[in-house]
Symmetry: C2
Subunit: 322 residues, 2 copies
DNA sequence: TTCCCGCATGTAAACGATTACACTCGGGGG
DNA sequence: CCCCCGAGTGTAATCGTTTACATGCGGGAA
């Protein structure tokens, strides 16, 4: 079913059919209707590939994520999808690739299939990107450490939020606060740790090294961290987990040991994943508007797409609330 | 950067470059290397659209989901992405569309951009699909009520699993079991309810209508259901929630009222989302291997893609474990 | 020597749309 | 009456690949 058959059926040329479909150029009303009828009867749908070949746009953006796992991920996608749909764009998703060769292959394979990309890579290094992205392709980086001026980046105010958590806890009288960090290679995790450390220093709270326990953002690691914290002496009066999953794991460890939250110990998480709200007691957490983060990334990309030589890429930071 | 420039640079024709890149036809070793070098130097990547125009394949499959929300969703995608990547396919995701006109538009827009589709539509009706899918496009339906012989379908054994939950509870001595159902329009929810009802009848347990409380799969609705269950008298000794989110909401309501699980009341969920494992006490739930479900769907689709006139589409059901 | 065959490569026709340009036609101004 | 213009439509080039077919060449068989 090609445009030619539609044209034949409607008794016009392919050019006319194309004009009707794209609402370009002057068309007599009667012709328009004849074409429309033919299109409907034949259930004609334009061939996407042929179209993007000549128009040089695909109406598709690529999204590369580190891990297709957990609620954080689905929220980001949701936001992206939302914005994409409003503008008639499609999204091509892919999880990250263990192997570096493989991830390069993907980056290249996407070339020519997408108009732009959103890359969320808290731990992929900059060179890998640089080497595999045509510099003409609009890219928005999400929560990434890469500070290359060539690409737009979007992140959240990890440092500020972490610091305000510490200040909040200090305000409640806590002076010995345990921190469950995220994986060392993760950019967000590092920023959160830095923010917390700085606040602890500034407020002259207890900064003994044993109060920093490394996790990997998983609930399991949170659970392990929880158990280790219980063994510390004197026992910390508050815990700041660098994400909610770990906080939940932690909570489960504390409960298992009969320690009540918040009566015996304070616990704060980070991310405000939907599940957090339904725990008893509700987890105190830092709200990061995840879906809007994705949405904003998409809008930024769309902006770059529509004004090719727009203002230079900027690094933006989204605020958070407790 | 087109194949022509590569050809010029390597001093060969475009046909030869194409042959080297696709490893087709006989090529002298020396020529192959010259071409390879030129490709590397120029960082040439074939233009996807041009390619799929002539080869008539896009190496992309479309995935339509009802809701891009929560862990269930991300698990499905993860499974699909996994299988897709292994076979060099890309996935084009989109959430469902409130408006019917809009969802038809999407269905059609995908035409010509994908080789096949995975559609998860627990509540979209069959006609809407039928009217908008070219019958030549391979499609795999996921957890859907549609029983049209033309498409392959994949689902989980909702009825059997629900029945076994009830039998399990009955085995523990419970005779008055409350059921928190999913939304009525949802196919899975209905099957789960049916399975539970049948088991209750077969075991001659208490089947009073007030024991069935309608939820909508959200944690909020689970919470509300939990509160209503507490008001029943005599109070049920066990609760079966049609998914984990509602079970968690329920748990939170019970806890709020000082009712202990499992001491005072038994609670069973459905789905085994990762979060479920980290609650205290761990939630009893039906394990549905979600990621493998997605993976299997993708494999099925790939099978259909490679053997166009393969065996007729079959309806398959995946087992579950408690 | 002649013929034929197979390897290695080139030439050019697709694929299905968009769009610059050419054309026709009817009407209004000179 | 002629010219010009704009509305409406058609013709054909174009996008970047793949691939059927043609071509040239060298070697072995007759």
């Amino acid at each position: 079913m090609t445009i030619k058959e539609v044209a034949r059926r409607a008794g016009v040329s392919t050019a006319t059919v194309s004009r009707v479909l794209n609402e370009k150029g002057p068309i007599r009303d009667e012709t328009r209707q004849r074409v429309r009828r033919a299109v409907d009867r034949l259930r004609y749908v334009p061939h996407g590939a042929a179209r993007s070949l000549i128009t040089r746009r695909t109406s598709t953006v690529g999204v590369i994520l580190p891990d297709i796992y957990g609620e954080f991920f689905s929220e980001v996608i949701r936001g992206i999808d939302l914005a994409a749909r409003k503008s008639g764009y499609h999204i091509l998703v892919t999880g990250s690739h263990s192997d570096r060769r493989e991830s390069e292959a993907v980056l290249r394979a996407l070339r020519g299939r997408v108009d732009g990309m959103i890359i969320m890579s808290p731990d992929i290094d900059a060179e890998a990107l640089e080497a595999n992205l045509p510099e003409t392709l609009p890219v928005v980086l999400l929560n990434t450490a890469v500070r290359n001026g060539a690409w737009a980046a979007l992140g959240i105010d990890n440092r500020g939020a972490a610091a305000s958590v510490i200040r909040h806890l200090a305000g409640l009288g806590h002076r010995r606060i345990a921190i469950v960090t995220g994986p060392w290679r993760n950019h967000d995790a590092r920023e959160r740790l830095e923010g917390a450390r700085r606040a602890i220093r500034e407020l002259s709270l207890d900064d003994s090294p044993e109060l920093e326990i490394e996790g990997d953002f998983s609930q399991e690691s949170g659970y392990r961290a929880g158990r280790r914290i219980l063994e510390l002496s004197p026992r910390p009066t508050a815990i700041f987990a660098a994400n909610d999953s770990m906080a939940i794991g932690c909570l489960s460890a504390l409960r298992g040991a009969g320690v009540q939250v918040p009566r015996d110990i304070a616990l704060v998480g980070f991310d405000d994943i939907p599940t957090a709200r339904f725990l008893t007691p509700p987890l105190t957490t830092v709200r990061v508007a995840i879906a809007p983060l994705g949405e904003r990334a998409m809008l930024k990309l769309l902006g770059a797409l529509s004004s090719p030589r727009g203002r230079r890429p900027r690094r933006e930071t989204l605020p958070t609330t407790l």
